[in-house]
Symmetry: C2
Subunit: 335 residues, 2 copies
């Protein structure tokens, strides 16, 4: 059986509340007792039951994170940033995967609330959960969720600017007939990236043919399928803006299979700058997101809000936009 503070108290002929005080470094115990308690606790192999502790203290020192998938390295790196920062600040992370399903995301939110997490970081996949999210009783910080909901803080890369940069580069390369491959319906990231992209073309006075806009799942297969379709139906397409890198990977796969040279015949630009995009065999031109920083910032924001709330300080949701960066590689013309 597990050792409890009562066991320690009994052994030391103390009251269990004194043991609690000693263990938690609270005032009201003599140095002597404290040391004695600490020692025997260690000897007996005592580990606190954080569940019980959480029941009374109303804090679990755990924050919940909901991401759509774990295979896309983008989320992997953001999550790594979150976890590393959390650990430094003495918090644990409960990670949930929504698998891009709105319903699953709802389940995840519920689970986290039931688990009494102190706060939630979420990359929401659907507006339809915004009401639920607003009703959550703990602080929430979103990744790319400002448009959906401004009741809580959010951090994201400036997607409009990112899309703009991508377009500007493509235009300067001389591409004129660009296809845009977006993520799933309602993806706010795709929406803004496309907005910025279109804006740039407008500024340059170039018409963008919306029949070249299509959408699929944010994965390799999605990009592959879209490329196949697009290049068959509209073979004069001269470039592709894949709304994220894994999609771009799928595009490159299709082109490679067809013997179409990216960067020479058709330009391809992605978004995220995941690690493999830089491999010499891939050399994908893309827009960088500061992934690790995004994770770190979201966590810090969340903990600040948690602190504010316990201290009853009014809190104003804040939106943080990070600057994207164009990374030119081999899948677009060299400028």
């Amino acid at each position: 059986m597990k050792v409890t503070i009562k066991d320690i108290a009994q052994k030391l002929n103390l009251n269990f509340s004194s043991v609690s005080r000693a263990l938690n470094n609270k005032p009201g115990v003599s140095e002597k007792t404290r040391e004695l308690v600490m020692d025997t606790a260690k000897k007996m192999g005592y580990t606190p039951n954080v569940i019980a502790r959480g029941l009374v203290s109303r804090s679990t020192k755990t924050i919940g994170v909901i991401i759509p998938d774990i295979i896309n390295p983008l989320f992997g790196e953001i999550t790594t940033g979150i976890i590393e920062t959390a650990n430094i600040r003495n918090y644990d992370v409960f990670l949930c995967i929504s698998n891009w399903e709105s319903e699953k995301e709802r389940d995840n939110i519920n689970t986290l609330q039931q688990k009494q997490v102190d706060g939630i970081i979420i990359k929401s996949v659907s507006d339809s959960n915004s009401a639920i999210l607003e009703a959550v009783s703990v602080p929430v910080v979103g990744y790319e969720s400002w448009a959906v909901n401004n009741k809580f803080s959010s951090v994201s890369t400036d997607n409009i600017r990112g899309g703009y940069l991508a377009a500007k580069h493509l235009i300067e390369c001389g591409y004129r007939k660009t296809a845009i491959f977006s993520g799933p319906e309602n993806s706010s990231s795709s929406f803004f990236r496309r907005e910025g992209f279109i804006q740039a073309f407008k500024e340059y006075g170039i018409d963008l043919d919306s029949s070249r806009f299509s959408k699929a799942e944010y994965n390799i297969k999605g990009g592959y399928t879209l490329a196949k379709e697009m290049l068959k139906n509209q073979p004069d397409t001269d470039s592709i803006f894949a709304n994220n890198d894994v999609m771009a990977l799928g595009v490159l796969q299709y082109m490679e299979e067809q013997g179409i040279k990216p960067g020479e015949q058709i330009g391809v630009i992605g978004f995220d700058n995941i690690r493999i995009a830089s491999l010499p065999q891939i050399q994908l031109t893309t827009i960088n997101q500061p992934k690790h920083s995004i994770g770190r910032m979201m966590l810090n924001l969340l903990l600040d809000e948690i602190k504010n709330r316990t201290e009853n300080i009014t809190y104003y949701p804040q939106r943080t936009l990070l600057e994207p960066e164009l990374i030119v590689r081999r899948t677009t013309c060299k400028v």
Copy 2:
């Protein structure tokens, strides 16, 4: 404030234990009361406090998972298998990242115990934690941990066989001077893969030069560095067995940079068969692990043991070995 069973009880002029019974579908309440309770619970927006429930029932319906990193898609896919299966069986997953650090892993184990998880699935990075792991009070299932510890069940791909298959393929291609790039010190996967590899060479009566065995971190950079070193110091090396795919990716990166053609000048074989290995630009020859199945099997094993334990059925640790499969692509000769 959150709704509790007491609130419901008060509203219905019932005792809160009746509400509990009704909510949990336990016998001892009339159908009428049960329905009434269910209804009002829903209306009042009641969600159970699983923390409190766990305190008394001694089960949190949560299992802990510890993996070394989240960037390597191998772990991503295994973890996806775990989470999906867990959700089907009504369990939540608490995911911890040890970052390949033994100390961090120890912290993770502690955290999970404190959080009172019902069981732990772990890919341990170090033998030094085996004592701690044995002392864990809940069931544990390991990935690739049999050699380290046989007090608990484990699932893994047959690494010896995998190494053997890799070697056989290389030999049949005509390679004779193979370098082996292993993972970090004490990596059991590398150990067995190398063993199987060496065994095959022995069977074929070919001497393997151990000066070509080296080790680094299990990531792209590790493979890159090792390839650079090896090909500089021992330029007659004709092939490389990278002990996992991400390492192989680093090897390919170096070769590409140097204009060395994989499969033509130097053969490269990896291990894991991660998704990107199949991209036409990469086309890495590798050994497949059934990643999703591994996750699913580990979870099922764990839940079985949890069940056995609550029912006081003696349990014998079992070792499950999965068959690896050679996937020939372009980085080795075509057979």
